[in-house]
Symmetry: C3
Subunit: 265 residues, 3 copies
């Protein structure tokens, strides 16, 4: 029982326009594999990204930013304590923040523990993961192989609803069709393209895009839906022109540029 | 005295098809400059990459993975101990692994010592480097300027044979023509394009591609040859269409996508 | 009162040709978000880049290199002490080096202190930043929002002149028009494209390109101007063909390749 939303749904267009008008500072902790693409996606939609766990900078940045995203894959270079500190700062400053629970449920105990502590201490505005990660975070027992989902998004929807009700966060599940819920309403976002799973960091960029769309103050459910709908349409258009994953990644950024610049006049 | 192999040699095609069918988890430690391209190449050929030295994750990942690659340039962020621990775990678990001895012989003592310790403790399934690195690793005295080879691949072949006989590893030398040996047979792989040396991480991606081709259980010599032959043909086709190194990098990924998706039907 | 210089000003062409002929080793410390693009730009103009703060390697590399750049955003992974040690080594070895004072004046005290210490201990050959950073470094009080400039380049010129006189460094300000000064002469470099601010690391790449152009021994003012003029023309040509920021980034590298390879015959 879900409502389907896709570009150019007016509230999606409005959410994207708000990013371009506010040009918000969006701060992220993520891993070095995906950081460049994440930053370029935020820039393409009109945000101003800063990424990285310089220990002296996370508190000023999490305070000054209008949106923060924390991807647990940041643990490749950053300590769990640094991630906790950043979330606490964002939470205390009233900065909306997004948790991307990469690898949760995949057998890395320290990730699972950190995610649980983040949810308990500093509940995020939104959580965005694949089906396995959302099920694991909600207390189900799915396992990830690396960062790939092995469960379907549809199977994860009841877990997402429960997780949203428990945490007060909007919860989004990525997949062939994406699902976004605040624990009451479930929105489905069709579209995208399988090559999004073949470009490293493309999925992770959703965490950054959700933070960018939350930053101007848009309703959290709608902002989270908007981020997914914008990437879905950009990916569809990019795939029509691309021959493989290399040009696809470049064309996704091009299509985001075209969508965003088309609204700024 | 070498046998020339190039795409579409049947065993090369078979090795690539096996990657697509197994979709193996391939785990790498490398530096942040090349990680994104490495991951995208593994994805393009159908593997499932995970990269990075989260200290709590390297043991689970090196155990769960079907292939591992360790690039000594990882020392930009990871400690020598972490690299040793990863190799030991892979070795103990029977996970095939690839050593990319970047900078060995270039005057960084800690890299040279680490490479020697890795070979002694946890002999890799394959070693892949440029001519200078292979000569240095075999006990010759070549020096690298940064990460560029100053010796020719042809000059390095006898060193590669000796190194393969001593370690039991397959040894590959990258250059205008690549050479791969198990200490008995020497295979030459022509092709590629000089722009591969003008895209950061393109050479390093061979380490990741070798790990991906080893992962499904293909004969180590053939798997290593296959990785080189697949990148060589993709680079040749990409260069025909590209005007410079920016589009070249994107087109290499496109050509890998086309090769891999062409086999999966 | 400034002199306008643009490609193909003969000394700019000569500076670029010198890079291709020397193929200098250029060593950089920067953050992981921008490292790949920085390296690819240096490669495209004919340099040989090495990036990254392996503690055991910074001294050999800063000694062996002909040019070094230090971007304060490196503090995402590297300690202030490592940056100081690298600058001291370059200074002691007579290696020309470039400071990119990213985030200085933006409220991160440790960055401001580190920049001041670098200038006092190991004055760089050139400094390259945006208007806010240059004003802050010169003792004015501009503030950065993340890494974006909020002051105009024109307003920063008097600060740049003062800073150049005090340090003996060439000082460059990036913006819609770039300005470069040695404290006596002011050169303006028009061109470029706004999308340069929409691709992460494109601005930071100027630090790397200045180091590459300084490496062969070209007059520091002219080398710094040349780096800016080369990127400006490449960006203009790339923007004529690109639909958005994804292809733009690839085409900038293509145009740099074409400029550099056009001189090497």
């Amino acid at each position: 029982m879900s409502t389907e939303i896709r570009w150019p749904e007016p509230y999606v267009v409005d959410a994207l326009r708000a990013v371009g008008e506010a040009s918000p500072l969006v701060f992220g902790l993520t891993n070095y594999i995906t950081a460049g693409l994440n930053a370029n996606m935020v820039l393409a939609v009109g945000g101003s990204p800063a990424i990285g766990g310089n220990p002296a900078a996370v508190e000023p940045l999490a305070t000054a930013a209008s949106g923060v995203w924390i991807n647990l894959a940041a643990m490749v270079t950053d300590s769990p304590e640094l991630l906790l500190r950043t979330a606490r700062t964002a939470h205390a400053a009233g900065t909306r923040w997004v948790l991307d629970p990469v690898t949760v449920g995949g057998g890395i105990q320290v990730s699972d523990d950190l995610a649980a502590q983040l949810l308990a201490e500093s509940p995020p505005t939104a959580i965005r993961g694949n089906a396995s990660e959302v099920i694991a975070l909600a207390g189900g027992g799915a396992t990830s192989k690396g960062v790939d989902a092995t469960a379907t998004p549809e199977a994860a929807v009841p877990y997402a609803e429960k997780l949203a009700q428990r945490t007060g966060s909007v919860v989004a599940i990525s997949g062939p069709t994406d699902y976004v819920t605040d624990g009451r309403e479930v929105i489905s976002v069709p579209g995208g393209h399988p090559w999004l799973t073949k470009v490293t960091g493309a999925g992770c960029s959703l965490g950054a895009l959700v933070a960018a769309c939350l930053a101007p103050g848009t309703d959290p459910l709608r902002a989270t839906v908007a981020a997914h709908a914008v990437l879905a349409v950009a990916a569809e258009r990019a795939a029509e022109q691309a021959r493989g994953t290399g040009t696809f990644a470049a064309f996704v950024l091009d299509e985001l540029t075209i969508l965003a610049e088309g609204l700024s006049t």
